[in-house]
Symmetry: C2
């Protein structure tokens, strides 16, 4: 093993272009040219450089490259919970689009905590990601103003941004909820409960608005004990559902505000003596195999992600259209649980 090659084995120290240049007996810039496939290098020189690269196990240091070039070819995705199945397809869709643009995806969970969201977003900005896709936990994003001004493209998904003008991609929560409740009403229900997410979450409010609108359109009164917004923890959802079902005049149907709520409600209803109709917001796997099949309002999470990421890269390519808001329609999928008549 030659003297130069010994650096191969020096632990924890990686060879640099300088090392490669020395070993190949060429200049630094020539190595750079070969590594980046730039023209102006004779085949023979190129071969020598390639050999040196292989021998030393050289790999370009992208940190240095980023510093020099200003672009990192990476985008950040901040969502609420990486483990939530609803976000899986969204995450995947964003990754696919990023990949198509040669970018890597950095991601993290805010755990529905505005402070943690901000911390994460700013850490991503410090990394100089080129752009951000954010599922907001907080409702004030003014802290992003300087970053956006500095050129970090930003798209909000699933919920609108707070106090800031930026691109937003939303599901039609209002319309979907209205359809869901209208569906229950069409099957004869008049006392319908709504169990939704925390009221500071935009989608929860929109879905509640859809619920109220459908009831109003049918001329039905809403008893306030039929509405329960709050955390999606199983305990709280169970309590809320049981309260509505055991009231003197119990609800005969339930509309659940998202997939986690639906799952718990399904469990509660499975142990309930009387059949109760149910429509859930968000589709989920095997919803058709439960008896009866669970009727849902399906959101297209993948399309949500794809739209957001596409918008992001359009910004990165330098569009100067004003920020836009895109609304992705939802789709009611009847499977049985929503078609049960009032008991």
């Amino acid at each position: 093993m030659t003297d130069t090659a010994r650096s191969t084995t020096r632990y924890g120290t990686r060879p640099t272009m300088k090392d490669v240049a020395a070993r190949a007996g060429v200049g630094l810039k020539t190595v750079s040219r070969v590594v980046n496939g730039e023209p102006g290098v004779t085949p023979d020189t190129e071969r020598r450089v390639q050999e040196a690269i292989t021998a030393l196990g050289f790999r370009r240091n992208d940190s240095a490259r980023v510093l020099r070039k200003g672009r990192t070819a990476s985008i950040g995705l901040v969502l609420e919970d990486l483990a939530d199945p609803f976000y899986g397809p969204l995450n995947r869709a964003v990754e696919e689009v990023a990949r198509d643009h040669g970018a890597l995806l950095i991601n993290g969970s805010s755990a529905e905590d505005p402070e943690r969201e901000q911390e994460l977003v700013l850490a991503l900005c410090a990394r100089r990601v080129d752009g951000l896709v954010i599922i907001p936990a907080g409702d004030d994003h003014r802290y992003l103003q300087p970053e956006i001004a500095a050129g970090v493209a930003t798209v909000f998904v699933d919920r609108p941004a707070g106090e800031i003008d930026a691109d937003v991609v939303l599901s039609d929560s209002f319309g979907g909820a209205r359809d869901a409740v209208a569906h229950l009403i069409a099957h004869g229900h008049r006392r319908i409960g709504f169990i939704g997410d925390q009221p500071r979450i935009h989608t929860a409010i929109e879905r509640l608005r859809g619920y109220r609108t459908a009831m109003a359109e049918a001329g039905l009164p809403v008893d306030e004990s039929w509405v329960a917004l709050g955390p999606t923890a199983p305990e709280r959802v169970r309590t809320a559902a049981e309260a509505m079902l055991s009231a003197p005049e119990p609800v005969t149907a339930l509309f659940s505000g998202n997939n986690r709520v639906t799952v718990t409600v399904v469990r509660v209803l499975a142990g309930h003596p009387r059949p109760v109709a149910l429509v859930g917001f968000d589709d989920f796997e095997l919803a058709d195999l439960i008896t009866p099949g669970i009727t849902v309002v399906a959101q297209d999470a993948a399309l949500l992600g794809r739209t957001a990421a596409t918008l992001l890269f359009r910004r990165l390519e330098g569009t100067d259209e004003p920020p836009q808001q895109r609304v992705i329609p939802t789709r009611l999928i009847p499977r049985g649980s929503g078609e049960l008549p009032p008991a």
Copy 2:
């Protein structure tokens, strides 16, 4: 607005420590000290610097920092499919551990394609992630040798590394599969089918081995038409299942090799005239609400992820223990479908 402050609004150009220093009327290093909370700065100076930072909207450029310090405080996670619900909790667990260590998580999907896995891993290495958690798609990881030698900590999860000596965290696929099949045998089944993932995937082979072992231990013969390994695409799984169920001597029970297979098998069985027993590898949400409840061998995906990430950071802190292999036990959860008697 002063002359200096105008740089706040220059689009696409971020202020640097030099700008902050100039505005605060101090030296570059003093700014660095304030930004990093290093001691040795008078309160008064610190205040001036902080003011300048706020006024300019300065945020430290971590790319430059990384270049200088050599550590990126980020780790890479390469898994098979971000949208697969099995990987959600794993992803989340890895992220939590990373967060506890002040590191960010970069991740991507290999789509079960060895070439894409390699491409992704090497891109992460070029970014100089401090470490890697990999769910291998390929079975030859010699390409990682120089990276590991250069100090990139690497832990493989769910499947072992190929041709390379590294930390590995696995579920007990063999034991889980044997338990599952033994469970079916205990309920009187003698003709049991196994539908699993592609044979180049390690877990598929191990589960098949568990299946064969359980059969052999019970002295039962295995007809080769009862074993079907291949892609988990619904079409192929459906075909395989239907073939086994419609043979002259049909199987009376099925063991499905992972959650995607299980889901399709459940659908097939739902449309089947005769009750067929089923045990699936991997738990999934609502498995208890289907009729009958689906008996499964549950893996602890979160524990898998947490163990891997913890091991990774131990390496990063400089342990020089030899690479280890951890096996996470599985747990059989009877829910009904596995306890059906042979028809």
